[in-house]
Amino acid sequence: MSNDREIEQILNWSANEVNEKSFDENFQIKTRDMLQAKLDNYYVEIKESLLIAVMGELGNNSFDHNSGRWRDVQGVFLKTDNLTRKIIIADRGCGLKATLKRVAPEIISDMDAIKIAFTRVVSGRSPENRGNGLKFVSSVVQKKDWQLFFQSGKAYAEVGINGIEFFDSQADIKGCIAILRF
């Protein structure tokens, strides 16, 4: 999955400084209201309730944990491709490690953070009861035999019908990137 050229482009977009050439505003969702409108319309188009629920969890996570502290570009990059049945959601926020370390100080590495995010009910927004989003996403992806690539920092997860696997990456993603094949 990680050899895909579009994935390389989005990794570069997230890892590097933003400039006019690297940034396509057509795919930028700046506010939560824009995300809701986009997903309302996409449901009408695709009629797949679980897909919209997964996209909602991934996209809203970015707003939940980065509002007021975006590194530069506010909101999420969201691109849907019905021909190749692929969805990309990315943000230039603070990433899993910085978010979760506040409530789980035992987190040392990006790998620690991504494993906890996908397997434990823990949220960066303590004392609010949150932290189920990525578990839900993982469960649906496995059940539907979809594929998910999710990277934050220098660690990524691949989720598929056989479960979750975690890997180290050369690229350092400051925010989060999710690529879903459905």
Partner: protein, 94 residues
């Protein structure tokens, strides 16, 4: 009493929207007595996410208790999967 979730929208996704729906229900729909029983009717809901449901259903459970709430018309796949997650979380909190 029956709470028809479709009256809050058909694509129910974010935590702020779920929280707002709960606060609106609390202000205008819900009774003052804690022993009231509820049926949450999901008919007409096309998409439900755990974030929205957690804010709304957890709010109801805090006010009225778990045993007073039942669900109806839950066959939508996103409703089914979301209720599994939300109900598991409630079990873990006990």
């Amino acid at each position: 009493m029956i709470i028809e979730l479709k009256k809050f929208g058909n694509v129910l996704l974010s935590r702020p929207a779920g929280r707002d729906a709960f606060l609106s229900a609390k202000a205008y729909l819900l009774p003052n007595t804690a022993d009231e029983s509820f049926i949450i009717d999901f008919s007409g809901v096309d998409v439900l996410s755990p974030s929205w449901a957690d804010e709304f259903i957890s709010g109801l459970r805090e006010l009225y208790g778990n045993k007073n709430i039942t669900f109806k018309n839950t066959s939508n796949p996103s409703v089914e999967e979301t209720l599994k997650i939300v109900n598991n979380e409630q079990g873990a909190k006990k």
